[in-house]
Amino acid sequence: MSFKRKDLLGLASLSPEEMALILEAAEPFKEVSGREIKKVPALRGKTVVNLFFEPSTRTRTSFELAAKRLSADVVNFSPSSSSVVKGETLLDTARNIEFMQADILVLRHSSAGAAEILAKNSRLSVINAGDGWHEHPTQALSDLLTIKEKKGQVRDLRVAIVGDLAHSRVARSNIHALTKMGANVRAVGPPTMIPLSLQRLGVEVFHDFDKAIAGVDVVITLRLQLERQGRSLFPSIREYARLYGLTAERVQRAAQDVLVMHPGPVNRGVEIAHDVVDSGSAVILDQVANGVAVRMGLMYLLAQRN
């Protein structure tokens, strides 16, 4: 089987086989990133444009490194320095990039569906690097690869996702990825952060973290977006940390070989305790390393499409 898609917009529409194909393609690139000369010529002559309308350091850097290690040329567009501030529409910006003969466009945008609109209206291969509260597929694929490596398989694992699931594209993509791969997913958080519609995606909803964490194989903690405080989603950071922070005591309730994951950036002492971040259960930095490999594998597959 080969990867036939022009774009990667989200995981909701991807089959388990397609996800497995991307993970398989990512695997050989881990070796490349471990070399002294971290570069292969596979995408020589291709152009990758990073178009980020929201601040991001880690995701943009990860995409940039991935493209560069494949020998592609990389251009970074950011709205503050581009014609976007002069009133150009998103679509016009993309068309201009297309006619500069770029091949792959990596888009982060605050509006859900922005990547899909561009993909439909241009020849470019579009990779969604996060659109509003909708999806962040490459992050979820990196998480999936990390789980698969550490646990051998994803099927029948019990996975808890903790935090503000209502406003998290990472959580949404993770739920699609994990349920499609046969894991049992628990959504954990205060009622203000867990939309009822999540149950339609096949997850079990919990408001009591101590109950939810019992026996789980993986805990994915989401970043508490501190800037949302004052929008009455939670009374105080201290209360949130007490009820939904991942502490060493809570980790004890999970399976013995539990994996602790976090998409970053971490608020130490809020959604996850200091000692847990630095414990042997945490695979947060493996997620980062796998992120580069997944993005290399994905860009390799998209560039092969003719």
């Binding site: 080969s2 990867f3 398989e24 393609a25 695997e27 050989p28 070796e31 490349v32 070399r35 002294e36 000369i37 570069k39 292969v40 010529p41 596979a42 002559g45 594998g297 390799y300 597959l301 560039a303 092969q304 499409r305 003719n306």
Partner: protein
């Protein structure tokens, strides 16, 4: 790697299992002779067929010299010169060379030497991993039709072929009886 044979073909065996073992044994001796033993020598098989042949050479060298040489596996997919023009997606596999290649003599091992493009890609792949003292090439079959200035140091057998003929090295490790076959198309459905 050669493409899968079409349905209607005639197979003629040009090397059987005994001849294959003899050819590989001779190559093992030649490698030892040329390198005055096997100090600072490493074998690198090109995926997929070359890896199995490299494993066999390692065993033969161990039998002759009572020394284990290091062995690695190289996937050349990312170094192909036809990546952007191929219609299909070549399957990516892992490169696994668990030793430093700098300053040692690397024997690249492949099953069939044809246009030379695979070897060009393999040499690019190797030099990205370090700077070997020397790169030598061992192949089981040299079928001619080179498109690049590349020549093997060790050849199991030279087999003159027509360009549209297909040479297949079939190995026990791949679930076949050891042999080298020439496949001649006889009336594939037009």
């Amino acid at each position: 790697m050669e493409p899968m044979p079409p349905k209607h073909h005639q197979e003629s065996v040009i090397m059987d299992s005994h001849e294959m073992t003899r050819a590989l044994t001779r190559i093992a001796h030649e490698i030892l002779e040329r390198n005055k033993g096997c100090r600072d020598v490493g074998l690198v098989g090109i995926r997929t067929g070359g890896v199995y042949l490299a494993q066999r050479l390692k065993r033969l060298i161990a039998q002759i010299e009572q020394t284990e040489v290091v062995l690695g596996e190289l996937d050349i997919t990312l170094y192909r010169d036809d990546l952007s023009i191929r219609k299909d997606q070549p399957v990516l596999k892992k490169t696994d060379i668990p030793f430093h290649i700098s300053d040692i003599r690397i024997i690249l091992v492949d099953d069939v030497l044809f246009t030379g493009r695979t070897i060009r890609a393999a040499m690019d792949g190797l030099t990205d991993l370090g700077r070997p003292a020397e790169i030598q090439l061992a192949v089981l079959i040299d079928r001619g039709h080179r498109q690049l200035p590349i020549r093997a140091n060790y050849v199991g057998k030279n087999i003159p072929t027509a360009k549209d003929e297909n040479i297949r090295v079939l190995l026990e490790e791949l679930g076949e009886e050891d042999r080298v076959a020439k496949l001649i198309n006889v009336g594939t459905a037009a």
